[in-house]
Subunit: 160 residues, 2 copies
Amino acid sequence: MMTRTGLFPDAERRVSDLQLREFFGYNMKRAFNAVRSDLQRTLQPFGLRMMTYSALSIVVENPGLRPSQLADSLSIERANLAAILDDLEQRKWIRRRRSASDGRVRTLEATGEGREVYEAARSAVRAHDARMVAELDPAQRHALRAALTEIERSAQEAAK
Amino acid sequence: MMTRTGLFPDAERRVSDLQLREFFGYNMKRAFNAVRSDLQRTLQPFGLRMMTYSALSIVVENPGLRPSQLADSLSIERANLAAILDDLEQRKWIRRRRSASDGRVRTLEATGEGREVYEAARSAVRAHDARMVAELDPAQRHALRAALTEIERSAQEAAK
DNA sequence: TATTGTTATACTCTATAACTATA
DNA sequence: TATAGTTATAGAGTATAACAATA
């Protein structure tokens, strides 16, 4: 039996999250979680995750770059990149080679199949992206992009 | 020795992430990660994390609500809320009580100490938030908030 | 049977320290 | 000794299935 008197302390009620909604971080977290979930569904059929897709994108666009450069570009730790590259290499979408001039260095390049998978996934990600911003007009999209870039800069500045 | 000829395939170079930067999801991820990192540093002295802070906020604001309502409000799974409530209860910042009218139901309320910790943390989070949006004018902040809300709605719509 | 809260488990992303092989 | 890449480990958030108690 469902009690719906509205008089008892644990009856159904509207839950207020006004204080949380004041904060941009909380609104960003909610929006990002929803977007991330849709992106995961989008990439899963390709065998890609958010970070393997991101890494593959930059390797395709910058053949010959080094893991340390890739980690910098993605703003992740070198240590966390290793597993991402393992994943991509096991699927034969990228290759790691030793540098001839410095034995410590590796160079990264996408395989033909890697480029094909990336292009297919990229189309799907474009469609995903269009879904996410479907309700925003061009000016709003531009303003959003600028605001996100500015916030990232402010947050990184605060970290120093 | 550092080779800096710029002529070898693995020499230093500018890394292009133009294709990734096209996508809002990637820009959101980068901005959110930077914000999350600052928020973690902000909350750590209080013994709070992003999700325990969020849960505590809503319990303080809605005394007597039930875990299922709280999970709905936070857009997380009931299963994941249990550990969050365990954390808050062990620190004696909230209490879980059994409902008199329905033995399955629990009701949640903050303790006096819980409200004090929340108010102190809330001030720190306000300062964190101000740092994050420091470079945005009021119109940009308003537009950002509206865009994030709209994106969350679009993403949840796409999940159906 | 259905619902509430919970346990258990796995996956993704992140952060840090320490190791290896080269330089 | 310093650097590039890696391994190991832990923390935080999320998703799913299954369970006990209660309705």
